[in-house]
């Protein structure tokens, strides 16, 4: 997995609440058997018209946001389905950090498996960063995972919380399965106890 340590990048503003996974990556793109190549279809139905032309008003089609690496959004971002295609599409587009007041649980977890840092901040701080993002390419937002800080283009510094284990894995690009298999004895021990206690399982 791609490591995440620091990022200085342009942030795209999406001041919508309840941005769902069907918006992020519509179902017709879930038929792939690969993880890559979904960036072109990120926010597909908001981004292209029926003839596959770009809709100029959509934020990621505007020249100043085409290389955005950060997304600033409204509350409950990523609600809906469990499709990991949503973070795959976000990462494939080049966005590795999302900032919002809250997230749906499954999406939030999925981000960490794909080198994306989802940052939760109070609404009023998100509002400040949303305004910052609206300045376009003149405003670079800096994210420092180790220090757990975001710095706006005006120099405002916001602290954010992140689970220590998730932070460790993200900073080091660690593979969860490898880490878990180191605890194979604990799993085997559990299986022995559980099959004695609940043999019908």
């Amino acid at each position: 997995m791609q490591k995440f340590t620091k990022l200085s990048g342009i942030a795209a503003p999406m001041p919508l609440v309840n941005i769902d996974t069907d918006m992020i990556i519509p179902k017709q793109f879930l038929k792939t058997i690969k993880r890559s190549g979904l960036g072109v279809n990120l926010f597909d139905e908001m981004r292209y018209d029926d003839d596959r032309n770009e809709i100029p008003d959509f934020v990621l089609n505007q020249p100043q946001y085409r290389d955005a690496q950060i997304l600033v959004a409204g509350e409950n971002f990523g609600c809906g389905s469990s499709r990991e295609h949503a973070p795959w599409a976000i990462a494939d587009f080049g966005i590795t950090c999302v900032i919002a007041p809250s997230y749906a649980d499954i999406f939030y977890n999925n981000c960490f498996k794909n080198g994306i840092l989802p940052i939760t901040l109070p609404q009023e701080q998100v509002d400040v960063l949303m305004k910052d993002a609206e300045k376009g390419s003149n405003a670079r937002i800096e994210v420092d995972l180790e220090a757990q800080t975001i710095t706006s283009s005006d120099g405002d510094v916001f602290h954010f919380e992140v689970d220590s284990f998730k932070k460790h894995c993200l900073m080091n690009g660690l593979d969860d399965i490898g880490l878990t298999l180191e605890k194979a004895d604990a799993i085997a021990g559990f299986e022995t106890r559980a099959s004695a206690a609940r043999p019908w399982v």
């Binding site: 973070p87 649980d105 689970d163 284990f165």
Partner: protein
């Protein structure tokens, strides 16, 4: 010992390892797999030279892509869908997991097949790469959706890396009024708490109105816990649960059955256990409801009118205006004046036999409105067979409905069953997101009886007027 919630008990019984920071390895008893969220996980196993840790606890069935038309045995899937289903066929065989292929009468929506075959039992941990895994919580199982990386993790280790969620209690007191169903309960709860109301929590549904529900009704309620933001919904098992499980192909038998029931009877929330959040609704206050917007929280009684955006606050003002524009609705319009083009009865929310019975009871001897498209998609091949045996299929056919084969169908439109742009649908499924049932399609969520009533009149309709 301090009193525990039902969730606490199941969690504690499945922690295989706990790190100092509270990160746990949670052991998984049943892993359900479908074709859309699994190919990359199996590919990951192959690349790393790993096996499926517990193939006996892993059950796969294709459902999302599968066409539901009667000719599906002769193809009808587009090339991408065909490849995805073929990949599941191959992966199931190569890794030696339980499998119900498209040709098997037991094939159907993964969340209907699991309980039907007795894979889902009280006290278990159940996961699937699908958010509606919450359905299985109806059995007093801890069940939730996971992403594809986690699918791979469970395949390889039979565990998940988890931190414990908070406890939330949703109590529905008293009795439901006539015409009010499990779907109305679950939508009303989301209407009251919002789609983020359950974030970070496991919801335990309880109270007289929940106890009074059948197992199938309870599955409908838990199914939509995810639309309320909770990863899991759970209901304490009781005699109805045991009765439902008994005799199913993969339920325990004989002495093991007795031991299992004795254990299952310990699965309830202790008196005095702590809940971080409590929501109470009176069963008598719940009406038949529909959604008007593009979020499952946009719920109103069928007797209401379309709201205006400025009746909301905060970020919801803009979201409501966007919903009104997308749904092409004018504030102040009576919901019962909204005409529809299509009726869809099915999905993991409402594709079980009781759902079909409820719809058929309204449709018996009647016809759908002329020009309306209407389809019934049973949740599994066995539900379909039973509906045919009970004469329900004939009622639907006589009413002018298409009688389909099992699958996810128009709930998410990954298959040929889709809405056209601007087409308006009365649906028994679970999501009314923009484009969910097809680009530009407009979805109103409701119960099977309400959808049947809408089919007859061609408008959103109060089913109580037909009872």
């Amino acid at each position: 010992m301090s009193p525990k919630t039902l969730y606490d008990k199941i969690w504690d019984a499945h922690v295989a390892h706990e790190a100092e920071d509270g990160t746990c390895l949670l052991y998984i008893d049943r892993h359900l797999v479908h074709e859309v969220t699994s190919p990359q996980a199996f590919e990951g196993l192959r690349l790393a030279g790993r096996k499926v840790h517990a193939p006996d606890k892993t059950i796969a069935v294709p459902d999302h892509n599968v066409p539901t038309t009667l000719d599906r045995a002769n193809g009808g899937m587009n090339e991408e869908s065909r490849i995805q289903v073929a990949a599941l066929d191959t992966n199931a065989k190569d890794f030696g997991i339980h499998y119900y292929p498209v040709s098997d009468v037991r094939q159907g929506i993964v969340h209907i097949v699991g309980p039907e075959q007795g894979w889902t039992l009280p006290g278990m941990t159940v996961v699937c790469g699908d958010s509606h895994t919450a359905t299985h919580g109806a059995f007093g199982a801890l069940a939730h959706g996971i992403g594809t990386s986690e699918v791979e993790h469970v395949l390889a280790t039979q565990t998940l890396i988890q931190k414990k969620s908070k406890n939330m209690k949703v109590e529905i007191t008293g009795k439901l009024r006539p015409g009010v169903t499990a779907k109305d309960i679950t939508l009303s709860v989301i209407g009251a708490t919002g789609t983020a109301g359950g974030n970070g929590h496991v919801i335990e549904y309880c109270g007289e109105a929940i106890r009074d529900l059948s197992m199938e009704g309870r599955m409908t309620v838990c199914n939509m816990a995810i639309e309320g933001g909770a990863r899991a919904g759970i209901i304490a098992p009781d005699d109805k649960t045991f009765e439902y499980c008994k005799g199913r192909p993969h339920a325990p038998k004989g002495a093991q059955w007795e031991a299992a029931v004795a254990y299952w009877k310990t699965l309830f929330t202790d008196e005095g256990a702590h809940f971080d959040k409590i929501v109470t609704l009176r069963g008598e206050d719940i009406a038949p409801v529909v959604t008007w917007g593009t979020s499952p929280e946009d719920v109103l009684p069928i007797t209401a009118t379309v709201p205006s955006a400025d009746s909301f606050t905060g970020g919801k003002v803009g979201a409501a205006q966007r919903s009104l524009d997308y749904m092409a609705l004018t504030p102040g319009t009576k919901l019962t004046d909204i005409t529809i083009d299509t009726v869809f009865i099915g999905s993991c929310t409402n594709g079980r036999i009781e759902d079909l019975r409820a719809a058929a009871a309204i449709l018996k001897g009647k016809k759908k409105k002329d020009g309306l498209r209407a389809m019934v998609v049973p949740g599994s091949g066995l539900v379909r067979a039973q509906a045919e045996e009970e004469g329900l299929a004939q009622i639907f056919i006589d009413a002018g409905f298409e009688w389909r084969l099992a699958g996810c169908s128009m709930c998410l439109a990954m298959n040929p069953d889709q809405l056209a742009p601007g087409e308006r649908c009365a649906a028994t499924s679970n999501r009314n997101f923009e484009g969910r049932q097809g680009r530009g399609g407009r979805t109103h969520l409701m119960s099977p009886a309400m959808a049947a009533a809408a089919a007859i009149t061609g408008k959103l309709t109060d089913v109580r007027e037909m009872m």
